[in-house]
Symmetry: C2
Subunit: 435 residues, 2 copies
């Protein structure tokens, strides 16, 4: 078992790297979201990710990357190259590097058999070969797939070779299939790292802030930041039109850390109350979904320039049907009139991008879909379609509630997708503040 | 000026690496889409990307990564760390590494002044410092932003130091802001690489195939693949429910290569005609948008389980209003009836996930939105909501045309987002085939 001095000094310095193996990443076919997920998961428990490296399915590239990373980092997490085909060479390469041999692991085999039985497919010899793992590793069962995860205690092997004690160090080989990797990271690898490396206690707290720029927010939080104890770090994580503030407390005594976090949160609330949209969420759509469900309220959407993005983000989350009844994407005036009831007179007099139109869109959606709330957007996402009076980036937004309808006009810089994403966050933040 | 032997042997072996600098990447806040974009752009001109490396804003990490990459790769493309704040240290690090000094580049300064004038902001001293570049580099003007791009002729410097000839090698430092990087890669860096390294002629051809699995497609294309000349490579690039086939021809004589590509395309068309959705596009929504615009037809959407994703993808592309009039996201039976005209009897008798319902959704959308075509989806995206008769992953799809309505049922494996993405591609492919 790995043991490191469980001191604060050690806690702050554990570092890690990620190696993602796969030709599909190097030709730009697939976006490397695995690296993002793993970086976030390691950062959340206080492990500092210092490098992410993507290489192809090539034995010498794999070996030299792993050797280099083991010379630099405490924990090296590797994904990919564990499939059943001959392109998948990670296991053989690791086996050779560690001077070990492959054997058929009974638990891994039982898992593969179970998965094939579930799918109703016959298991082939090729599939059976996935149960082979190097003798020198600890097999971590992959409940969601056929490729086993492998934990290599690098320091133990160094001790065995040299008879001398070595710095605790681990290499973990994970499958590259995102949902298998995510499950293994969350439920097995990160808990094992926390336990075996005695990483101490970490408390994270997210606060979503919207409607204020980073530099203005930082002015407001200056005093609060100056008063933070050393055990707490504050990070500003800006996204489309919003900022996620992340407080991280690290140490050994949970009660003390929690009290420090609570105090810091209280100070942020005092300094920036009117801009806080939610706490303990990753995104504004999540805040809206949670609030609607908890209050048992229903929602409809009426989207012009955001073109269905609001609906799409809300329904990407399981359970959306509990509060979201539906929406209209009204990409022309005719539909704004026929499907949402915007008066032709309003469109003629005030144009499609106006306070009057967005108000009638929201109210029409709320009425026609028979919901408690409705949000609406209309604007010019660009890059074309702007005029002198309504330049590209102009977006009108509205939230209709049982009591009233509130509206807002924004003028965004940036490209089409940025205009859309900012408008989505803005109008959903307006809604979250109303509810 | 760089010159390499313009032989076929050289053409096949030029390699490159990408170094993305930024703490925000290592904590998992931002997905590294820059790497994907750059990998694709380099691959498209026949440059083999062998490694992507992400590191933080840290001088020693930057220097050691660059030194290592220059010892391994012909071209090293670096992004990030070029902003005006003191976190941004790429320029200083490169200057020190190459033993050069910073000077104020007049063209870069004029560009920064132009951008500030355009934005209507005053230019500060900090902004003016962005015009400083190392003397030893060639400044590439960044028309879209204030951080100049820099081209370092590494081999020329080696020659100057040692008096001996060196292998042609280049390091390019680019801003990390995606749209600035994309513009510079497409319009300046890649053309310069092609010209100075005499990369020869590359012809790429994409064919989107849908409705057939990779192994079945590969069986069908076996003969065609065996007949491919050495100058042509075929890659299978699978995405949600579709496969992009990419043919790449490399050589020196454009006419010959084009004739070879044409023959290969003809052979693919013969072998897999019924599965081809489009040629020369990156995605199925792109195929649909192009076809609708060219034929001057209009489209509406009626989405249940895809929850606005179809609308969102279509409207993410500029010019969508030329053919897309709008849609309904009907996330409950009430809305399927009220907004799309699905009969209550149909919903009661056949349920929401049925051929009858999806047909009425598509026909209702086409009629109410007054369009030539409409697509509709209804299903169980999961992970909950499945029943014995309608398990998770079941999706009914329909396309209503002026002549008829066609329907299709699929049963997808995979997680919620995969079910949604596959259904989107499937129903849009059905539409593309109708038109």
């Amino acid at each position: 078992m790995h043991t490191r001095l469980p001191t604060w000094a050690i806690l702050t310095t554990m570092n890690a790297s990620i190696i993602n193996i796969g030709d599909e990443l190097l030709i730009g076919q697939v976006v490397n979201t695995n690296a993002t997920y793993m970086s976030r998961a390691l950062t959340a428990v206080g492990i500092v990710v210092e490098e992410v490296c993507t290489i192809g399915d090539n034995a010498s590239a794999i070996q030299s990357a792993i050797e280099r990373h083991l010379s630099l980092y405490d924990a090296v997490l590797v994904t990919g190259g564990l499939g059943p085909t001959k392109d998948d060479i990670t296991k053989e390469t690791l086996c050779r590097m560690f001077g070990s041999e492959l054997y058929e692991n009974a638990e891994a085999l039982a898992n593969i058999e179970r998965i094939f039985a579930q799918r109703g497919f016959p298991m082939t010899e090729t599939n059976r070969r996935q149960a082979l793992v190097p003798r020198c590793c600890e097999m971590i069962n992959n409940d969601l797939g056929t490729a086993p995860c492998m934990w290599f205690d690098v320091s133990a092997q160094a001790r065995a070779c040299t008879g001398q004690s070595a710095v605790a160090q681990v290499l973990v080989s994970l499958p590259g299939v995102p949902f298998e990797m995510e499950y293994l990271v969350d439920h097995k690898v990160v808990p094992m790292l926390q336990e075996r490396f005695q990483l101490g206690t970490i408390i994270n707290k997210n606060i979503i802030v919207q409607g204020i720029g980073e530099s203005f927010l930082s002015d407001r939080l200056e005093e609060m930041e100056a008063a933070l104890p050393e055990s707490i770090k504050l990070a500003y994580l800006p996204q489309a039109g919003m900022i996620k503030l992340r407080l991280t407390a690290r140490g050994t005594d949970k009660t003390t850390l929690q009290a420090q976090i609570d105090q810091a949160v209280q100070n942020i609330r005092t300094a920036a109350a009117e801009f806080i949209v939610g706490e303990d969420f990753e995104s504004i759509p999540e805040v809206v979904a949670d609030r609607m469900k908890r209050l048992n309220k229903t929602l409809a959407t009426a989207e012009s320039c955001t073109g269905g993005k609001i609906a799409s983000l809300l329904t990407a989350m399981s359970g959306a049907s509990e509060y979201y009844k539906g929406g209209v994407v009204s990409y022309c005036n005719e539909v704004k009139h026929s499907a949402l009831g915007v008066a032709i007179e309003t469109l003629d007099t005030h144009t499609a991008v106006s306070e009057e139109t967005v108000r009638e869109m929201a109210e029409g959606a709320r009425k026609r879909f028979n919901t408690d709330y409705a949000v609406a957007t209309t604007g010019v996402a660009g890059p074309t379609g702007g005029t002198d009076t309504t330049p590209v980036g102009t977006v009108w937004m509205a939230v209709a509630t049982p009591e009233k309808t509130i509206t807002k006009k924004m003028r965004y810089n940036g490209r089409r997708q940025q205009v859309i994403d900012r408008a989505v966050n803005e109008v959903l933040a307006m809604l979250a503040r109303c509810v």
